[in-house]
Amino acid sequence: MSAVLSIRDLRKTYASVTAVGGISFDVEPGEIVGLLGPNGAGKTTTIDILLGILAPTSGSVQIAGVDLAQERSRALAHTNFAAVYATLPGNLTVAENLRFFGMIYGVTRLTARIEELIRQFELERFRNVKTGVLSSGEQTRVSLAKALLNRPPLLLLDEPTASLDPATARDVRQLIRDFSSREGGGVLWTSHNMHEVEDVCGRVLFLSRGKILMEGDPRTLAAEHGKANLEELFISLAREPLALEDA
């Protein structure tokens, strides 16, 4: 089966600043890939490009084999996303938001799918509540429900558990794992929580200054680079990316 995401030599520059400096990687069906890096490393820029809201300076993106630059609408129909900075319209209720986005994504048997997700994310009592008045954790659950509406072959998650309590975050991680294994969806997951990354991701990419510095299994990568754990590796990378690049 071919990759659900295929990025080749992706580059984004603003005047003299390079936000993403020619990265290439794939995400396979059923794979959860962590995109890690310090603030300003280029993670969100990469996600924005994949969402079609930021044009790359050069390079190519294929989502489920569809070229994003050539067939934007068809490519984006194969994906969906949740991000802490992309709140859903707060003036719509939970059910209205799910219906609105379900129609945009062309979800078939939409009513049944909405009910299924409302149940899955335990949103029953918020069904007719305006999304804007929910707590940040509840809003995150709605965003995740929206992200799974179309059972996307590629799911993009930008710090999806950032505002969740530990118990809910664990449940959400399980839901995403289930989605990935049952539906075969590929997931690109950015997070600053290294324990979460170790728990969920099968592979991680370390991004620094717009480049992929290293890649590997989050459970073994730290030891391979002489660090006690992934968090220590992350901190080293954030402080001395060039030294690690040379190593």
């Binding site: 079609g52 609408s73 003036n91 609105f100």
Partner: protein
């Protein structure tokens, strides 16, 4: 997996507007409150002018009719911009544009939303004008439809243009959009003949479709019949402006995608 139906995506935008109206009486009131105030105010002014005039001229169709048509045009324009502003106010532009939604589908949704909201305003206007002041749209005869169509098309064009301005300059650019009808009204010669204006203003009026509409209305009231040529010119111009506004919005959108404006779009000016 297909990208879904363009019609369904357009319908989603309309449905969203319906949800917003249904969920908030504050959004429903402006659809007819300002219109009602205008009709009542101008209705009494025309009645007063009729009582003063010894010429026997009936000011009701001239002034109140003009108010009716101008308010319709303003409602259409604001219907489009308000539907767009809903995405700006709720900071959901990123969520909407990071989907399979295409720009023509999105704009079609804004236009259909505007048709719905302006139709409500039109009905309220008509009921008030007939019941309180005895002025029916039908007093203009068969020419009413083309007049309304020209104003409708130009309202849509300006609404799309205003939305593009806000997309480019950020939410604070709203204040540039709301006064557009007021700025245009002197040039559109809503309440007086075009010949009243100085030459330089008439030059501007000639590129404004509403000027042709209001000249046409006055010609009918004066018994000179429908000036088909002028009306056709106004309609052609309004259609051209829609195409230009659509192209302008698309250009601004592409620029926003190139520069990252949509990704950074927030409560304050992104530009």
């Amino acid at each position: 997996m297909s990208s879904g139906s363009p019609l369904r995506r357009t319908a989603a935008i309309v449905l969203r507007q319906f949800y917003l109206l249904r969920g908030s009486p504050v959004r429903i009131l402006p659809l007819f409150v300002w219109v009602a105030i205008d009709i009542v105010l101008w209705g009494f002014i025309t009645r007063y002018l009729n009582s003063l005039s010894s010429s026997g001229m009936n000011f009701v169709p001239v002034l109140l009719g003009a108010v009716l048509l101008w308010d319709f045009f303003v409602r259409v324009m604001q219907g489009v911009t308000t539907a767009f502003f809903e995405d700006v106010w709720s900071r959901s532009l990123l969520n909407v544009f990071a989907t399979p939604m295409r720009i023509p589908e999105y704009l079609a949704g804004l236009v259909l939303s505007s048709i719905g909201t302006s139709a409500v305003g039109l009905c309220v206007m008509q009921v008030l004008a007939v019941t309180a002041f005895g002025l029916s749209f039908f007093s203009f005869g068969a020419a009413l439809a083309p007049f309304l169509i020209v104003l409708f098309l130009f309202g849509i064009a300006l609404g799309i243009f205003g939305s593009a301005i806000v997309m480019r300059f950020g939410p604070s650019a709203e204040w540039l959009v709301w006064p557009i009808p007021a700025i245009l009204s002197p040039f559109a010669a809503v309440f007086y003949p075009l010949s009243t204006l100085p030459a330089w203003m008439q030059t501007i009026s000639r590129v404004l479709p509403p000027a042709y509409v209001f000249e046409g209305v006055r010609a009918i009231v004066a018994g000179r019949g429908v000036q088909a040529g002028n009306l056709a010119a106004g309609a052609a111009m309004a259609a051209l402006y829609i195409l230009l506004a659509g192209a302008f919005f698309t250009r601004i959108y592409r620029q926003a995608v190139r520069t990252g404006l949509i990704a950074r779009y927030s409560a304050e000016s992104p530009g």
